[in-house]
Symmetry: C2
Subunit: 314 residues, 2 copies
Amino acid sequence: MSGQARVADETRERVLEAASALGYQVNMLGRGMNRQRSDLVGIVVRGATDPYRAALFEALLREIDARGLQSLVAEVDDEAALDRTIARFLQYRVSGVLVTSGAPPIALAEQCARLGIPVVALNRAVSIPGVDAVLSDNETGGRLAAEALLQAGCRHLGFLGVEGGTYSGLARSAAFVAALAPALAAGRATFRPLLAAGPGHEAGAAAAARAWDAPLDGLFCASDLLACGFLDGARATGRAAPRDVSIIGFDDVTPAGLAPYRLTTIRQDAAGLAARAAALMLERAEDPARPAVIDVVPVTLVRRETVAGLNEVT
Amino acid sequence: MSGQARVADETRERVLEAASALGYQVNMLGRGMNRQRSDLVGIVVRGATDPYRAALFEALLREIDARGLQSLVAEVDDEAALDRTIARFLQYRVSGVLVTSGAPPIALAEQCARLGIPVVALNRAVSIPGVDAVLSDNETGGRLAAEALLQAGCRHLGFLGVEGGTYSGLARSAAFVAALAPALAAGRATFRPLLAAGPGHEAGAAAAARAWDAPLDGLFCASDLLACGFLDGARATGRAAPRDVSIIGFDDVTPAGLAPYRLTTIRQDAAGLAARAAALMLERAEDPARPAVIDVVPVTLVRRETVAGLNEVT
DNA sequence: ATGAAAGCGCTAACAC
DNA sequence: GTGTTAGCGCTTTCAT
């Protein structure tokens, strides 16, 4: 059944025929047992309901499937659950683990590395030797947002992030401010950070309610969810985009493109991330001793109506 | 390791301690091999990006995990892929298969049944002996929608479904019309079906563009996605809900509750569906010969602004 | 080109 | 209460 046996073609054909006639299915448990590894890949997801996460998750499933592997998945709420989950994956002798949530606890990651099991983190900074990572180009994303807002004539810029801060949010914010630096230094612009209490629409809307105590005409948001929430919150105060404030989100999730929002945003390439993650996983499986790799996947600016004057191609 | 061995407590403790000190992890492949079954449950999903599907999917993951089982998942595009997928699941000797997409091909389902592997279909009509199903109460959903629209004073009703029709859509439509029957017979109302070219927002919006050639003041949609699309499409023609037309959706997905839509809808209980599905699966595992069960999970009317005059509790 | 045998890690059954 | 053994289904290796 392994496809590697040295038998006459005719014999092979006869046995395969018989097998299919009998409805025989290889027992992957037995194969895995014998080969000391399974074709199983563990995927750790968190908040799979969030539209961007769902898209990334789906891309991972497709990618795994396309490579003839089988996904083992676990949704995880907190770090403790992550521990249990990875341990469980280990019990199934997965040939790799893809983590889309939280930084993998160092101990577990090291254990995986020691066992020769590749771990790849998605959209997370990790500095664990032997753990690869693939992330969207937050730097370019932040810069594109800054350039677009400046080009649209905004002078009072803000960044809406989540209280406490996520890795991605911080990276985007830092890149945004860095790209703004010359304008700030020249006194051609101001910048202030805004904080939402959570990552969701509600929190974005709440932030919009109290955003007007100082001038604000250009806002870059850590995610589309926050941006759409802010937009709705702003509308509740009678404001509109881009009339009163230009807004740029991040992710390019489906709802952001729909009629009520038409949000200008930075698109993440979920399929690209997934493909790179799978590739890194397999490469490390071949060469476990290789130094850790951090792969950056390009992002693109999607021009829509929440920023004025962007329709000409730059 | 099985937890069933008859040993002195002290001995057990010592070996467990040693095991954890060594970082030992049971090999579930070996256990599965020996026990002739694994703790693996196969989940078949389709279109996991759709917000309702994503919610159901997440509920299933949680449910499986809560019961100490491990999810094996595959996203599936077409019926052929379903075939391959279920075959693959069989190879891993899953102890059950949960299908959220398409009717499981009879042949495969029968093969599972013969192998004693429970198959549960979610939100699908199945009439395969030995295959259980759990679905939302589309009948009550349709009736609640009809009652709400009539109570709101609508006289020219419509149902927006998807061309070709899905099982759920047809069931909802039929129940809606059935509940309308008395009013129709008495000449107090009219009804007409509307067809969207696809299941998504775009298709709903397109349907709204050509909905006004005949009177329409109350619309029940097969899904929230369609309803929101229709709403946006209607707005593009200068119409609004509930001013010009009352609208009720189905699913209660997150975006439907947000400011731009505030859609009155029928809420499906994803967690309830997942819990029942898991329960049915385990029950059948115990008694494979049991006749097929179809479990119906209650739905509730969520009153929001797209239907007027509903805020008093009925 | 084929057959035979060993062994992957585990657990249930049986002997002590 | 504990030690031993057989065997789950598979693949790889060695012998024919």
